[in-house]
Symmetry: D2
Subunit: 378 residues, 4 copies
């Protein structure tokens, strides 16, 4: 594994490295960690890497790694840079023969995303996307329950992603995370909607298996002086006639990372909260509510395959992240040139999800700027 | 106290009677409990009332009671009939010289509500409205916290009222509650929006002290064969620039009566849930979350005045209901003909709230039928 | 209904009156509310009672009430005085022909309790005891589940009653409640053990239907200067071989009234917490946990008979208290002189529970003073 | 790093490996994974190890590793075998010059534990013990709060460790984990008390900084046919006069791994639950309860040093485990022959905790067999 981005001040870089390290199946051997001169080398040293395989640019990295013997060179690269540097390295990596695991959103614009999709299709290589939250075992259990019809036809879907960390103008106080995420030049056309709204939409579509077909959105920039939206709420409609609400905000002061979803069908509803991810609440019409717990013997094989500890030994965010790596690298190991990968079998977010996410952002921005109630999402 | 409606099969009648009975300050002495022949008498008997003061119609009741000596006749009447019979008895009671406590919504239409307002203004008598949920002590505490600026300027308001009891076509199976609530002739132009959506709107405006100025609403009839909406979601905007979401549904299968509200300001947020009403969660930016509990010595006098038991001895729905009675009857006792009542001092929902609620329902229905995104709520 | 005790500064008097008032079935008409000169009259006035039936002493009350016509005089009396004045009025009431509902503990000593039992047996009248917590609907549901064998044979029972209100020497600061409860002359030989430990023991025996047969107890006076225990922990054994722990403390600073119980059998366990009394958690071996909720249609008739509101409209402490009144007065209404009452049918704590409680206190004190591990509880 | 035990069917072996892998600071390079012929090799292969460094016995491993150049050989060894094979490899590892991280309990008997202590003292090498639960950041925060006197003098300590997985005679159904843990020849004199009771005692002493001085214990073998205790409850006293309860059971059907602790001082109490480890509840006398959350900026440096993700991105059991590795390996890196290690600085359980744990087990068994109430724990 190689890495683009993830230098010493990065938030998500270490998360990727820890997640990749948990199962002992992946070794980081190469990286172009930063465009700040010297920082890539420094990061490589801190990570005990062979300095020969630590590069100043991703271009150099892909060129040189591609020339190494197959048994030695990296199999895939993780792209963990800010949004505006997702496309470049991902495209070049694929074109240099490396599989790619890229942070979400997949690109800076829908256009870039669609281009990447073409490159994936052309090269036949694997592109994974870290919509981390679908990596949780009970999210998979929830999806299985819906697919098995346990809730009956789905009627209502409420998905929320409240955070509070951007309640003040943090980007003006030297916070690196806040700076790039609120900068349209680095983040793209969406602030909160791109950063966390896409996770919410992805989670809703993943669990229900239903596509959002229309949105009626409000985008706000609540904190004065900010250059991108930090708050969104929208009414949503799904392909089967279900409807609901999607909310994502970064100005809910006091909230941490409170992604949650509630889904109601004819027979009952389910509720999952990322901050207590090992519990899935199922409410039934006319019989007692059930609490489903990670690690239990009664879970589906899909949930079990992504669990590392017995019930009552909590797993968390890093393990969910590691599950994306587990599924992606399983596909990478099974990859055979010229043979199409069956994404369903491996269960990780891919280039389709990436295009979908960019499309979602663009449509929400369009809806927010429109005085018409509904805007279709194709 | 007299009562109109609340016969033997009524849900809300017994709730009113129990709530009125808790504090030992109010005695039910008269009633016109039902239009079903004989049922009013039967109800009176079951309640140990003097049969001479149990009437077949509210008209008869007000006529005869008005002729009794002042020391003997009822002081006020509770109107607990279905929506389409709120206006008639309320108006006649006022015009007969009785104060009125009426179930919400105050009337069948905005027009009726406005007429009632005029009657209240003209007679100078007191009209209270059982928006029960504002009777909870911690709702009052929340309002105090917001008013005191503890959260800073309010930015986001999310209020939800999910129920699941109308997930099936219950009205076709002989359920009396379901029947009239889903019948436009008895319920009015709104189903879920009138029955529970108004509670949600009232709660949000009560706690924040802010008026909703615009709505962007979706109204759905989810269960086939139903004649009124059973589900609504809307984006909302408030007078100070805050925005949020209001959701009310009766088809969230497995939900009981899960009214809840979250309010975020610049410095923190608060969260209250009706199903665990003795707990108020306060989340702060940069310091530990606090759990405020009913019955504690640190609460405001407003909250304390509406609490009957020490901390840890839970109070519930009947006590909240009793608080509406407590505040209303306090005003009734203080009433002096010709002197205007200071509603703020007593803190119970009044005719203004009633008009506001009907206006809200009408505006939401208008918005739902419009292809424009926003509809003003005046 | 008449009342002994419950003057203006009483905590439990108003609780009794509110509980008795909820269902509109009981009318307080008489009282000897206080031994403080004038306070009884003042209380009667505040309660709108006929002054002729407000007495300075309970002796006067029983003498005069007994002479009233049957249709007019009180049916029963509630004794809500401090512990050392439970025996006198209860005995005299019974001997004057009145049924009695007495606060727990039933008496000051085991000897008194046994004497009362004899008076009950001799008069054939009804004595109820306000072990309030068994009045909660879900406590009854829990008892039904255990009796029906749903958990299999019971193995472990953990019951706790932590409070924190006596964490300081409150009795020295003029707090009336603290004063008599920590005074051996008014409270008896037990402090926390008598005040709340008996509730815990009663709850455990009520739900499981099993008697405690042995205790191994530690009694502590944690706060310096206090004259009675304020804290206890004990190992306990039950008649069927089950074992467990009983804890009761009034110095768990920050706790409110956190009575809770967990019971485990061969197949699963259940957990109930008084502070969220409308929820019963059932944990199963090998299948999802269930959350049972008050007011739901799937509950047993026993639980339903003691519920006043639909699911999601929370009930609390006053309603539980009202359930003791409801069951007790049902028996009082059915009472026929000379005919034995079937206590099981009515389901309220009675004189047997009272004797049992005093025996428990005496045994725990004995165990605490012993260097032997186990002391039998007969 | 090398490993003794942890073959393909091991529960705790993979946990160690995953925990060691998270931070990318530790590399497993050698192992004697099993005494089952061939399994050690097979495990090594599955872990991509160099087969030359995978051994059939730990004796062979220590001999050969000791002869490798310092830059190449293992720095330390993790001993993850069943209890009866903790002593042998730990002792030999130390005597061969390797630091040791050993699973708890440190040994099969108190005698072995004391011998190990002597070897540690003599060699000056580092021995760590995986009392995992003290690795959680909020456990460290709790300890800091107590040490800083925020709760005032500690009065009551309640620690519980309920599990339900041994509710049936699982050891007879071929479950490898159940088999050795219920076998006195592999597990030692204690069943539940050794397996999980020691964790509870360690946690209580760790957070409070107080030693248990006396126990009054009941040990039960609840499931018929089992050869060791599966359930214990005890009253405990601490050196400062505080008292409390320790409960540990493996027959609480439906419980997962519900270790939890509540500690009350003069001013308030705190509560932590392993199954939701990122939340620390603090209850205060006379002011609102506080919820302290992992990853927040207001935490102590001690807690922050052991956190990997921002607030709201939950951490779990593997991260707590990784924290033991992090602290232990920090000490290993700082180790200089002849220089004494300052254990307080690194904050991981060591040989003293190991001796303490064995002493605790032995004392509890003694107490359980005694008819005297209290048995001192020295």
């Amino acid at each position: 594994m190689g890495m683009v981005g993830g230098g010493l001040t990065s938030f998500i870089g270490p998360v990727h490295r820890k997640a990749a390290g948990i199962d002992g199946e992946i070794e980081l051997v190469s990286g172009a960690f930063s465009v700040v001169p010297g920082e890539s080398k420094a990061t490589g040293e801190a990570l005990y890497l062979n300095p020969n395989r630590v590069y100043e640019t991703y271009q150099e990295m892909f060129e040189k790694e591609a020339k190494l013997p197959a048994s030695e060179r990296i199999d895939f690269v993780s792209v963990v840079t800010p949004n505006h540097v997702h496309f470049g390295p991902s495209k070049m990596a694929l074109e240099s023969g490396f599989h790619v695991l890229v942070e979400k959103p997949i690109a800076f614009s829908l256009q870039e995303a669609k281009t990447l999709k073409k490159v994936v299709d052309k090269t036949g290589l694997i592109l994974g996307l870290t919509h981390t939250y679908t990596g949780y075992p009970l999210v998979k259990e929830a999806r299985n329950m819906v697919a098995a019809g346990k809730l009956g036809a789905i009627r209502k879907i409420y998905v929320e992603y409240p955070q509070g960390w951007l309640s003040t103008l943090l980007e003006k106080s030297g916070n690196a995370q806040a700076s790039w995420r609120t900068d349209p030049k680095q983040s793209g056309m969406g602030g909160a909607i791109g950063d966390i709204g896409t996770h919410a939409a992805n989670l809703a579509e993943y669990i229900t298996g239903l596509k959002i077909t229309e949105v009626c959105a409000m985008l706000n920039t609540v904190v004065k002086g900010r250059h991108l939206d930090d708050d969104t709420s929208m009414l949503i409609r799904f392909e089967n006639g279900a409807s609901g609400i999607l909310m994502a905000t970064q100005v809910a002061a006091g909230e941490e990372n409170n992604l949650n979803i509630r889904i109601y069908g004819e027979k009952g509803g389910l509720e999952w909260r990322q901050m207590e991810p090992n519990t899935l609440v199922v409410k039934w019409l006319g019989r007692p509510m059930e609490i489903i717990r990670a690690g239990q013997s009664y879970l589906s094989d899909d949930a079990k395959a992504f669990t590392r500890t017995p019930a009552g030994h909590p797993e968390g965010y890093l393990e969910a992240f590691a599950n994306i790596y587990r599924a992606f690298t399983k596909a990478v190991r099974d990859y055979k040139p010229g043979k199409k990968i069956n994404y369903t079998k491996y269960d990780f977010p891919d280039v389709e999800d990436g295009v979908r996410g960019m499309n979602f952002v663009q449509t929400v921005v369009k809806s927010a700027n429109s005085s018409k109630k509904w805007t279709p999402l194709k």
